[in-house]
Assembly symmetry: C3
Homo-oligomer: 170 residues x 3
């Protein structure tokens, strides 16, 4: 039972995804794809980690997200991946092979014995960006979301903190 | 019974919000947060005002929106606030304390005896803006929409003129 | 029975619209509004055309979309227009009269005896673009989507490949 939680910036998507995990019992893995590039970011990440509380253990996975899902599944009862968009951004900036990583991610998800909840940004509802890298990112993000939506049992779109079901896991 | 009407640019959100107010009886307050910065804008505001017809009285509130809601509630049977996004933009450009104003707005809404219909833009469904002020505005707009959605009984997302219920007041 | 399929970039809207047409029997017209400006684009258009298979015949209509709908209706059992946003962009860049063309399009749709499925981008869910032409395009795209949504029997919003019904043709 995997869930994809989509939403815009500051839509409440991470909070919704976290609440879905906390509704399950047992140990929870927070797979973080964000990298701390400066002090402000480091502080913010530390604050968020403290906010999550005792049931959560954080696993950093800026690039090897499939590996982090596999290793987390050995001890966690549910896994939250926050978020796919930052992961894609890391891959793109590092010049990684996106199709290869996406295929590895799909394999990791399919063979995962515990539920995985993915957070991802919807980034394509604006005019075409002028910047070529931004256009490529937008395309890749759209394709990744489509693939993950096909792979997940349930897909939720969060707007202003309110969830809307796009695909019903029932 | 308060309503939040969300939507993108030219989505028909204001028209929908206005129709919701006009379905109620009595006097209607149109609380306008737009400021006329040039002749074109002045003409457009005047045209919109004439279009709204006799039941509406316009109250300008580029900054003190909580005050405008309180004073309008003394004579109006329903209040339309159009829109929260421009209000936030005014606050940000004037260097106002956004948390303080948002808290005042929440107080005004909670103590308001007549229905208030808010119009607001959803602005977070694109790639991260390059401009730092734009990023801050996008974050603040997302948080404001979340707070207002929590405070309102009904939340509607308008796309291409078509309303979709995100939170049902019933 | 006309359908409007809305969605962001890489949302799967074209694929959904194509599947809706292929669910119908008979000959299918693919009315393409894209113009090949370079070799890469030419290759991509040729590849897409080959992918669509034998039931489809492609009609190019970068500007005279109403004319292409009328002429396609003479032989096709269903018409796919992909997409309105590129058509609007072509009109804007060529300095054409958008209101006139939109009115002609509405006439062509109303008098069309076979189903027409339109694909269009939702482009207004971000912060205001800095570029004046981008702002104008965004406004025009929003208005066009509203008009087409009013004209169509069914309106679908596609997110991450998943359709959501905004207006139900039933």
């Amino acid at each position: 039972m995997n869930i994809l939680v989509l939403g815009g910036a500051r839509s409440g998507k991470s909070r919704h995804a976290q609440a879905r995990c906390e509704a399950l019992s047992g140990s929870l893995a927070y797979v973080a794809t964000a990298e701390a590039h400066d002090g402000e970011m480091t502080d913010r990440i530390a604050r968020h980690r403290a906010d999550r509380g005792q049931r959560w253990r954080t696993v950093d996975a800026p690039v090897d997200l499939p590996g982090a899902i596999r290793s987390s599944a050995e001890w966690a009862d549910a896994i939250l991946v926050d978020c796919l968009t930052l992961w894609l951004s890391n891959l793109l900036l590092a010049g990684e092979d996106i199709a290869m990583w996406t295929s590895k991610l799909a394999d990791a998800v399919r063979s995962c014995a515990v539920p995985v909840v993915f957070v991802s940004n919807e980034v394509g509802l604006s005019i075409v960006p002028e910047n070529a890298l931004a256009r490529r990112f937008r395309d890749e993000a759209g394709w990744l979301n489509q693939q993950m939506a096909a792979l997940c049992d349930e897909v939720i779109l969060v707007t202003a903190g309110l969830p809307m079901t796009l695909k019903d896991g029932a």
